[in-house]
């Protein structure tokens, strides 16, 4: 389902002026603290009435100030994971979780209490009241509450910020499944580039209330000029590939991208399934000759297309890898020593690969899975 | 057995009237009930259609008011009881005071206050004021008054020693051992203190007249006199 936003809203000295379309089921809102992410989500949820503008999800108009249309929050059926929890203090965890159920139509329910409770590891907390929970426990209950409301649109404002890596690693695949299986549109706010790159089909980059960039995750994450905003450390490129085969013995899956063959931890998908993989610039090394006797599994021939140095000793290198763009991050010293320049043919040595099943057709045909080596 | 007779009576009559009522119930087997409150409140309620049969006021003015508005049966009106006002002093053994024209009340107060019921609204206060005026001492004590909501509150002030002297009904003074009656105001010094009674125009209870007759009957005389009232003959 597509999400179309075209808004203008002022609060105090801050003005949100955002316009974007997203066809993806998971749209990431990305931007620095105070850039207007929560404000935008609140407008979509119906908690703020925008000064003017239009929000449409699928074929349902949520707001249209020109036509004087404003669907009240309780009729939007959004599941909103708030940045600050907002659990009901007078209800137990279980009652909090089931709150949205009372109001959701029976048909269209997805996710049972048990499965969500299991996923979030909150079975032991069901009888407690929120005041007695730890920060991360509260956040998990808030996620569960939104999921169990069987929403038609999921709004998640930094849902995983308070969680440890282990817990995140358990919840992320669930969100991916949700995205792919139920095809509920998700608007996802996060500061973690890794999360965004992994989950989002579309990224909207907000900067001081304005949309600095919006588009396919691959494109946005690969744009060197956006690094100051997307964060350098996590920058990378996204490649399209297909599953070529499985190496059962090693627990690896072989992928074929335009630039060559890649090996990644096992993906449980049929041969031929399209898969999107993300390769962080910092995980790519450049070699003039094809290295041998090396632990890295993935060595792709490539050509330098662009060099861009930031401040400091670092240079971002854009490569052409069989038609796809690849990013590598090296030092100025290496640029000089290796004589890197546009046009130079060399090898990209990729150590880690983050990947993500590319959704091909609506309706989805199986669980996605994800990993990070 | 018909509906009980409903009597609206001034609160100060409670002790006596309760006894009278009991006697009536015993004798006639009929019921009566009394709503005790301030005469003004009762009169206003009667004006607003209160379901009362008989009104016994502590105040001529309110009975007049009802009569003017044709709310009582004028022919049944009569003065039931009389009372007198006395000067009381704090303490059980205060020396008597001769209440004569121009008697030195102000100096007796010695800077203290004279406790009275409210002098423009409450009957006992009005009578006291009239008496003091006719005796020519009003102006000397007018700014030394402590005006209470009712006679009982005035009595309390003297009883507690908050005020050295006070003017109250003889009926109230008699019952309090912590005050002594130091003088009685001459009957001529103030308008007669009367408790008029009348059957109300709206009364449909046939027993009302009987009850009124019972109240007035000589048998009940001692009951009222025990409380210090003068029972007025017809």
């Amino acid at each position: 389902m597509s999400l179309s936003v075209d808004l203008r809203h002022s609060q105090g000295s801050f003005t949100l002026d955002a316009r974007f379309e997203s066809a993806g089921t998971l749209t990431a809102l990305f931007g620095r603290s105070g850039s207007g992410k929560t404000t935008l989500v609140n407008i979509v949820a119906g908690l703020i009435r925008p000064n003017r503008g239009r929000v449409v999800i699928g074929d349902q108009v949520l707001v249209d100030t020109e036509r004087g249309l404003f669907l009240p929050a309780h009729r939007r059926r959004v599941g909103y994971v708030f940045q600050e929890g907002r659990l009901f203090p007078h209800l137990t965890v279980q009652q909090n979780l089931l709150y949205g159920r009372w109001f959701a139509p029976r048909a269209g329910r997805h996710g049972s209490l048990e499965s969500v409770v299991d996923l979030l590891g909150i079975a032991a907390l069901l009888e407690r009241r929120p005041a007695l929970l730890s920060g991360g426990e509260k956040q998990r209950v808030a996620i569960g509450r939104a999921l169990l409301a069987s929403p038609r649109l999921l709004l998640m404002d930094e849902p995983l910020a308070a969680l440890d890596e282990g817990r995140k690693a358990e919840i992320l695949p669930y969100i991916e499944r949700l995205r792919d299986e139920t095809r509920i549109p998700i608007l996802y706010v996060s500061h973690a580039v890794g999360e965004v790159a992994r989950l989002a089909q579309t990224v909207v980059l907000l900067n001081e209330g304005k949309v600095a960039a919006a588009g396919e995750t691959a494109e946005i994450m690969g744009r060197l000029d956006l690094f100051p905003m997307t964060g350098r450390a996590e920058a990378g490129a996204v490649l399209e590939s297909r599953i070529e085969g499985q190496e059962e013995a090693y627990g690896l899956t072989v992928l074929r991208a335009a630039g060559g063959v890649l090996r990644v931890p096992r993906i449980d998908l049929a041969v031929g399934t399209p898969v999107r993989i993300r390769i962080r610039a910092r995980d790519v090394m450049l070699a003039l000759e094809k290295p041998v006797g090396i632990s890295a599994l993935n060595i792709l021939p490539a050509t330098v297309t662009e060099l861009r140095s930031g401040d400091g000793p670092i240079v971002d290198v854009r490569l052409d890898c069989g038609g796809d763009a690849l990013l590598a991050r090296v030092t100025r010293r290496s640029v000089e020593v290796l004589g890197l320049r546009p046009g130079l043919a060399l090898y990209a040595v990729v150590k880690s690969v983050a990947f993500d099943r590319r959704s091909v057709a609506p309706g989805g045909e199986g669980g996605g899975d994800a990993g990070d080596v | 057995q018909g509906k009980p007779v409903t009597v609206f009576a001034a609160a100060s009559l409670k002790t006596a009237l309760d006894e009278v009522m009991d006697a009536w119930s015993r004798e006639s087997g009929k019921q009566a009930r009394v709503s005790y409150a301030g005469s003004s409140a009762l009169a206003r309620q009667i004006e607003q259609g209160a379901p009362a049969d008989l009104f016994i006021s502590a105040d001529i003015d309110w009975m007049d008011y009802l009569e003017q508005h044709k709310l009582i049966r004028a022919e049944t009106r009569g003065n039931l009881l009389g009372n007198s006002i006395v000067l009381i002093a704090s303490g059980a053994h205060a020396p008597a005071v001769a209440i004569t024209p121009g008697f030195p009340l102000a100096s007796l107060l010695k800077g203290g206050r004279l406790a009275m019921a409210e002098t423009s609204a409450v009957p006992a206060g009005k009578y006291g004021k009239a008496a003091l005026e006719s005796l020519g001492v009003w102006t000397s004590v007018a700014d030394r008054l402590a005006q209470a909501e009712n006679v009982r509150a005035a009595l309390l002030l003297v009883s507690r020693g908050e005020a050295p002297y006070g003017i109250v009904y003889a009926t109230d003074a008699a019952a309090d051992p912590k005050v002594s009656v130091v003088g009685t105001f001459p009957a001529g010094s103030h308008p007669p203190i009367l408790y008029p009674a009348a059957i109300l125009a709206g009364s449909k209870n046939p027993d009302a007249a009987a009850f009124l007759a019972h109240v007035k009957s000589p048998k009940m005389k001692p009951v009222f006199e025990k409380q210090g009232f003068t029972v007025l003959g017809q």
Binding site: V78, R86, L132 | A37, R44, T171
Partner: protein, 233 residues
């Protein structure tokens, strides 16, 4: 301890007082919550007027309030006549009138307590309930109301206590008819008006205080439970 023995009339007055105070409290509760909500949350034309109206019984001497009630709800009163004719509800000189007087006198106290609680509710929780599909009425019932329970309980006990103690407006409005409108406070009042009535007044005062202590303790217990459910303590 002879003076502690209650006369049948007094027992009647006690029962009546309880009935009157309970009804005053319960009957004014829904309206109290509604008015408190309006005053706390809404801006409308005439809000100040409503606010003044609610506070009036506090400001006016009770006798005046009682008199106004008599004028309005009495048999000859505009509203009184109407209610009598069309609904058969009579306040004048009935225990219902005593309850009305108690309710009116306690209303400002009840409303204020509940209003304070409503104003303290974190509206973001109500928003959250809204996003989960609850319409405004459900939000109120499932979120706001439970959260303001301590204030509701406080408002109820204030209203009850006031109705138990109310005398000026009651005696002015519905008089002091034994078995019908003679409540504890009016009975106490009459005792204070006659020589030798002190012990009677004291006796009934003790009863009145005992009842209110019981009510107060019950309310504290309930409020404590409500507060602990909200996680305030």
């Amino acid at each position: 301890m002879d003076w502690l023995t209650l006369s049948p009339d007094e027992v009647t007055a006690i029962k009546l007082s309880l009935k009157v105070a309970l009804w005053a409290m319960l009957a004014s509760l829904p309206l109290g919550i509604a008015v408190a909500y309006l005053l706390a949350r809404c801006d409308f034309w005439g809000k100040s007027l409503l606010n003044v109206l609610v506070h009036l019984p506090l400001i006016l001497p009770p006798v005046v309030t009682g008199y106004i009630l008599l004028l309005v709800f009495g048999r000859r009163g505009a509203v009184g006549e109407f209610l009598d004719q069309y609904f058969g509800i009579v306040f004048a000189f009935r225990w219902t009138g005593a309850a009305l007087a108690g309710a009116v006198m306690g209303f400002p106290l009840m409303v204020r307590a509940m209003r304070l609680s409503i104003e303290a509710v974190d509206r973001r929780l109500e928003q959250a309930a809204g996003t989960l599909g609850a319409n405004p009425a459900m939000v109120f019932l499932t979120v706001t109301l439970p959260l303001i329970l301590p204030g509701v309980i406080a408002g109820m006990i204030l209203s009850f206590a006031k109705a138990m103690g109310e005398f000026g407006a009651t005696i002015t409005f519905v008089s002091n008819i034994p078995g019908e409108t003679q409540t504890l406070p009016t009975a106490i009042y009459v005792f204070t008006q006659v020589p030798g009535g002190d012990s009677g007044a004291l006796r009934l005062t003790l009863v009145s205080v005992a009842i209110s202590i019981a009510a107060l303790l019950a309310s504290e217990f309930l409020a404590r439970r409500a507060a602990s459910r909200i996680g305030l303590s």
